[in-house]
């Protein structure tokens, strides 16, 4: 017989969890006490805030493809997880969060640090459960892992009352392999494959849009083979970046509000649109009423509720794209689409002249964010991971970072959570100390989770933190400039001395204000062995272009 708390830890070990990101407190103390005995089998990372813990687990999960594990106490510990849950839910990140809860006999009595975590977390979890008896702990954790990682991944939460943690029970762990009410995968319908292939074979201007679904399905190779054979131009969503190397001949750019010019504009000129593992987010589609109306849409998608949700499709190919893509590859003709590609190339020139030359090639005036990313490209490893926060720096980093490998992109896409990057980068780095992890943040966002410098210090994770400091909540300021008559209402920041803060946390810290210092500083950062903080003071009022303004159509993408 062992204590419930030991069962919790042993269950996590049985699931091959490598890390627990967490923060202790009264209602979870028995589990922390148990952890003390297992530190040789599972590593616990003490963050400085529970939001930091869950974002770190997200970063870890996104780069490793494994389930991220989070541990927190009841009440405020659990409520601090909510942002991360909502983020992981909308970005389909597999997490198992375990929260302590007051003893079962106190439930509903407004006991100290009691909060209705099940109710609070319900909309932000794929599944959640409260465990009140020791014998239910292991089965609940087994189910939690299975649900988190199976089908379309997502966060789950297991709330364990304190009495269950201290009661004694048997430990014999049985992993979960299926739940009768849950059908995560469907068999691919051969008729759908045939219909999709027919449309593609008859198309003059077919166009592939790929999203994170390809990465979640580990179908990068299958996507590449499909494109190799079909010769169709392919564009990436924000979270799809990395699923296909940008050096692949089919790659034509990035989609969405601040994506590339040609891929957005030409969405309304293709005749067959093949969406693979993407969900037609409004940041990708702009005005739906004027989105790809001329095209027949083929949608390869695992989640039935995504079919026809935003864009009506002619042929839904429901199922895991790791299986459907090879079937489709077999059924399509070998082809090339030179003239169609040419259209992309021509529009690329316009974007280069109107946007990129300013962003990347300026020789005087303040520094631009794009210059920093371009230098990072020069010095980074092929498989370096880019973690970004939310705002202008996020869009610029994404636009200019050269994605070559899968799982090198970590950002808060669906929720747009400021404060995500620093802890997420830490989690990504802990997965592999040898991989370069570059974290790009804004002066606003870094201050939302800046306390995680402490966790970087304590774990010695060699994260490279690049602060692009424009002294503004830049993305909001850009909207104020473009849509609110330049009324910069509460977006300018009086910032602290970030270098001093970083140094207080024992990070190597360098600040760059001049163009001629930048290259050396970036090189120094990349070559530095431990954690490094680079602050780059950039132009205060730069804007991110191209841009599809809210309510506009993809073909109204503007260059200035």
């Amino acid at each position: 017989m062992v204590r419930g708390a030991d069962i919790v830890v042993r269950s996590l070990i049985a699931e091959n969890a490598e890390f627990i990101f967490g923060y202790p407190g009264g209602a979870i103390m028995p589990v922390y006490d148990a952890l003390y005995d297992y530190s040789d089998q599972i590593k616990h990372v003490l963050t400085r805030h529970e939001q930091g813990a869950i974002h770190a687990a997200q970063g870890y999960a996104r780069v490793s493809g494994k389930v991220g594990v989070v541990l927190a106490t009841s009440g405020p510990g659990a409520t601090n997880l909510i942002t991360g849950l909502a983020d992981a839910q909308i970005d389909s990140t597999p997490l198992v969060c375990i929260t302590g809860q007051v003893a079962a006999h106190l439930l509903g009595s407004d006991a100290f640090q009691e909060t209705d975590v099940i109710g609070l977390s319900m909309p932000g979890t794929k599944w959640n459960i409260q465990v009140r008896r020791v014998e239910d702990i292991a089965p609940a954790i087994a189910k939690a892992f299975y649900i988190a990682k199976t089908g379309r991944p997502g966060p789950v939460l297991v709330d364990i009352t304190k009495n269950a943690q201290v009661e004694f029970g048997e430990f014999n762990y049985e992993p979960c392999f299926g739940i009768r009410s849950f059908r995560p995968y469907v068999t691919i319908n051969p008729t759908a494959i045939a219909a999709a292939a027919q449309l593609i074979n008859d198309a003059k201007r077919p166009y592939v849009l790929y999203g994170q679904g390809v990465i979640l399905a580990n179908a990068e190779e299958e996507l590449k083979r499909f494109l190799d054979k079909s010769g169709i131009p392919a564009a990436s969503t924000l979270l799809g970046s990395g699923a296909l190397s940008q050096d692949h001949p089919s790659y034509v750019g990035k989609l969405g509000m601040h994506g590339n010019y040609a891929p957005n504009l030409l969405t309304n000129q293709c005749d067959v649109l093949i969406a693979i593992g993407m969900r037609f987010d409004d940041r990708v589609t702009g005005d739906l009423k004027r989105y790809a109306k001329q095209a027949q849409v083929v949608h390869l998608e695992l989640d039935p509720s995504e079919i026809d949700k935003n864009v009506k499709c002619a042929v839904p190919v429901l199922g895991d794209c790791k299986q459907s893509l090879p079937l489709l590859t077999d059924a399509v003709n070998s082809n090339t689409h030179h003239e169609w590609f040419q259209k992309f190339r021509e529009l690329d020139k316009e974007e280069k002249a109107a946007v990129m030359s300013y962003d990347l090639e300026s020789t005087h005036g303040g520094l631009h964010m794009g210059e920093v990313i371009q230098l990072i490209n020069q010095f980074k490893d092929e498989n370096a991971i880019l973690v970004t926060d939310v705002g202008q720096h996020q869009m610029i980093s994404w636009r200019y970072f050269h994605y070559k490998e899968s799982r090198t992109q970590v950002t808060s896409g669906g929720l747009g959570t400021m404060g995500f990057a620093l802890p997420a980068a830490l989690g990504a780095q802990l997965h592999d100390f040898k991989r370069q992890v570059i974290c790009v943040v804004g002066d606003g966002g870094i201050q939302m989770t800046i306390q995680e410098f402490g966790t970087i210090m304590q774990t010695k994770a060699p994260v490279k933190v690049v602060l692009l400091n424009n002294n503004y909540l830049g993305m909001v300021r850009q909207w104020q400039q473009l849509f609110f008559d330049k009324r910069y209402s509460f977006t300018e920041l009086e910032n602290p001395d970030f270098i001093k803060i970083a140094e207080a946390y024992k990070l190597r810290a360098v600040k760059v204000t001049e163009r001629h210092e930048l290259k050396e500083a970036v090189a120094q950062m990349i070559l530095h062995e431990g954690p490094f903080f680079l602050e780059v003071v950039v132009e205060k009022e730069d804007n991110v272009f191209p841009m599809i303004a809210t309510g506009c159509s993809v073909e109204e993408v503007r260059l200035s």
Partner: protein, 169 residues
Amino acid sequence: MNRYTILVYTENFIGILNRITIIFTRRGINIDALTASESRLDGIHKITIEVTVTDEQIIQLSKQIEKVVDVIKVYYFMDDEVVYQEIALYKIPIESLDPGLEKVIRQFNAHIIAAEKEFVVLEFTGHKEDTQALLEILKPFNLLEFSRSGRVAIAKPKFSITEYLNNQT
């Protein structure tokens, strides 16, 4: 907009009803009526939801409900595809019992299911239009209280949850 009956078969777990209703709340859709009870099968609950929505909305709603891990299967039907009933109870003061009321009771084939010193309780089962019609008629009789259930429904098309559960892939 159409009136639909959604039949949801679920595991009998705490919180499942909440998980289903937030799907409606989040989209600003009003649930006209909801009934939950055990189904014919052990451990499986049946939730009947009546809702007035567009064709597109009903498809989205049913997919979103079916996405809930502990939901086994969702079906939805138009009114002419289900046999359904609602039960209504009417509390009337004893003084109102006169020949006029007696005639109404006969006409509607309603039942007096309880008689107390000061009031009687009428029971009448039918579609909402019918129970509503009776309500309007009873109002002048100093109706004291009225209570109507959600819809209970049986689908006309054939399907079998047992078969569905046996066909695990």
